[in-house]
Subunit: 456 residues, 2 copies
């Protein structure tokens, strides 16, 4: 057994305890009442970075939540890897569906850690930090130069880090970016992500009358903003999953024959896995495209919530003055978020009934990204995964959006390695988020190996 392996083996419990400590901090970045906790989670990351022996550890204040930076640049002549992660988490509602409290991390019988952030992204970021710690402790040095940059607004739009990256690209000079925030198709099938969808997240507000109205007195002559939103939403995307935003599909990249074949043949049986995870007998959406294409390479439009009126127990016959819908679109790499927002805003207004005054807000947006599997960092990552899992990783698109990946790509002009150890059953953003500890430890080994191969 190598010294590195021995160190990892001997410290499993301690690694898990360090993760638990971080998970106990409810660092929900979208809810102002958790502001102190988000700051505490940043400090926790800084302590970890100092403990590893990284240098220039800094909690960088921003207009929003801080960035946590550290580097170690003593591997002369070796490449620089910029490691990114985020220490903020999603809200936890509906709380009643959690089997154990979201901020009391619990390892259940399945040897998975259950907590908000267990997968997204504290668990995945912690395994990278523990790989660095293992390498540094065993060797007294790292095989490559490293910068770590962590943010606390990934779930809230990532404004501060975007500003920082655009303002100080020279401080982030590197040869590759490594992001550990993605999934594998299953625990036997390692994966590298070479494509990510972008996103626009919007709020569509409809104003009707100047005040809430009683449906008995006004029903039949009053504008109903909730009804207007239903009409707008049903016009923007029909029951067949087609999005009716003029211009949206114009710039969509035609997939390669290899991609089409992979999606059609679905050798990993992901279609079945998706159905099982969702508990449905048939997949929804554009039935004329293979499901994997719908997830990775087609734009999608989803409603996340509709506010306004009365949703309590019982009955209230109110016609609300105002209603708001949260609507996002996922965008394959060559659809640009700002262009799509303009198209979306116009389409939403055109879809509205004449009595609806519509305002469309751009809450946040981010671009998709494509990374070549033939780049040196991607090859190193592929070899490391093969070493741990005994098989060549599959190259996948990813339906989710990591806007910062696109920004790094654009500003730093280097390959983005997206290698994560999450599983589809992790339930990120949902109740009972969890992370396989087996994947956690394999992740530590894989990342350590990846960095070693980068340094050869």
């Amino acid at each position: 057994m190598t010294q590195l392996e021995t160190y990892i083996k001997d410290n499993e419990n301690y690694f898990v305890e360090d993760l638990k400590g971080w998970l106990r901090i409810p660092s929900i970045s979208t809810l102002p009442e958790y502001a102190n906790d988000v700051h505490r989670a940043a400090e926790y990351a800084a302590v970890q970075l100092r403990h590893i022996g990284l240098e220039h550890v800094e909690v960088i204040q921003t207009q929003g939540y801080p960035l946590v930076y550290a580097d170690w640049l003593r591997a002369s002549g070796k490449p620089i890897v910029l490691i990114y992660g985020h220490y903020d988490v999603q809200p936890v509602d509906p709380l009643e569906l959690w089997e154990t409290p979201p901020f009391e991390p619990t390892v259940r019988e399945d040897n998975h850690m259950y907590a908000r952030g267990a997968a997204d992204d504290k668990g995945q970021m912690m395994l990278v930090l523990k790989a660095l710690e293992a390498l540094m402790t065993v060797n007294g040095t790292l095989p490559v130069n490293v910068r770590v940059l962590s943010e606390g607004e990934e779930e809230a739009g990532g404004t501060s880090i975007a500003h920082y990256v655009k303002t100080y690209p020279q401080r982030l000079h590197c040869d590759a970016v490594f992001i550990c925030d993605t999934e594998m198709p299953s625990q036997d099938v390692p994966a590298l992500i070479c494509g990510l969808r972008g996103i626009i997240y919007t709020e569509v507000e409809v104003q009707g009358a100047k005040r809430d109205l009683h449906s008995g007195t006004y029903g039949g002559v009053a504008p109903n903003p909730l009804h207007a939103l239903a009409i707008i939403i049903s016009r923007l995307k029909n029951a067949d999953g087609h999005i009716h935003i003029p211009g949206l599909y114009d710039k969509l990249r035609e997939p390669s024959e290899a991609e089409k074949k992979l999606w059609r043949e679905d050798p990993l049986h992901m279609n079945e896995a998706l159905m099982q995870e969702m508990g449905v007998s048939q997949l929804s959406g554009e039935l004329e495209y293979p499901p994997l294409q719908r997830i990775y390479a087609r734009p999608t439009l989803e409603v996340h919530g509709i506010a306004g009126g009365f949703v309590g127990e019982g009955a209230k016959t109110v016609i609300p003055a105002v209603a708001r819908a949260k609507i996002s679109l996922r965008l394959p790499p060559n659809l640009k978020s700002d262009e799509v927002f303009t198209l979306f805003e116009r389409a939403a207004k055109e879809a509205a009934p004449p009595d609806a005054q519509v305002t469309v807000r751009n809450i946040h947006g981010g671009e998709g990204v494509l990374t070549s599997p033939d780049s040196a960092p991607m090859k190193a990552a592929a070899e490391a995964l093969k070493e741990t899992y005994g098989k060549q990783p599959v190259l996948l698109g990813c339906g989710g959006s990591i806007p910062i990946a696109a920004l790094f790509n654009e500003v730093l002009g280097v390959p983005i390695v997206m290698m994560g150890f999450g599983l589809a059953s992790d339930s990120p953003h949902a109740p009972n988020e969890n992370y396989s500890l087996d994947q956690f430890f394999k992740g530590i080994r894989t990342v350590a190996s990846f960095l070693q191969k980068m340094g050869v």
Copy 2:
């Protein structure tokens, strides 16, 4: 000045204080946390009834909130008038729009009482009680026999009173029912309501996947219950206000030429009033029908709220497993609520996309009602209104629903006199509900006169 007039004049402040005391009790019947307050509001009514000198005052326990009963049956040979009112109120959200707290009744500069329930129905019920008190105090007797029956579930479906009326019709034997829970077109134009719309209030639930999903990982293949609801709602009622429920319009009564003429000519300028109250430049709905017809004589469908997913600050990319819409229909008198519910349920399920599992719940329903203006009680009411306001009342339909009116009509087989003193600016069910104190005192005089005329 008559003794009665003197009594009313001398006791204005005390009447208002009695009303305030009732309004301070937050008797919101749809929210379980106010259960104690709803009971307190019932006791308050009972105290008032005893104070008047009515007999057999009883707080009748039910499966839900109590009924408050009293009678006075000593006017030998005179008709029996059953007086109905309700002591429960609507919820108060959005609380931030109230200029004064909803349960701190405040008389503002406009000499209106502002509080939840000020109009609907504590204010209107209190003026009836004060008319009884004035008559009894001044004369030591009442001009007619009286039963008073008050409930605490009017805003929550009225199950208990419906059960009571159906079970014990003999206890409610009477010659007319009097309900003071309606409006006048303006403070110069007295009105009697001879038609009320019925209602069905439903909840449409859509189940998608078995758990909440992340739109990045599942967007494009996941069922989205919020999107399904948008499609269902937009198919049930289109942007032109047409309701697409097969069979709904089949039994609709053809309005008389007189009604059509009134609606078309709109001598009371209610269309302008409606636009001003709502702050809109054009009325919504079925433009091919006059607005008054849309309010009084056409069925309407309104969405009151849509629950599911995320509606907080910021962004959460959740696709909820379940979403629910509260949808009601107002029904002109000859559309029966149970028949319409069956049609609605079928239409809602047929309107659903194939990946939506739809459940439709009948939260409550009530029938519409028609009362002949030629009946003796309606004539007495008309004369009393003319006495107070100096002009003949207009005979109106009413867009709102008072299901109990239809039930009384059906079970007791007597005319229902709906004479109320509310104004369109009262904002019942909305923030800043209020009631004109001028109308309150005129109401006391009118009701006293009405009962006297009934007793002639």
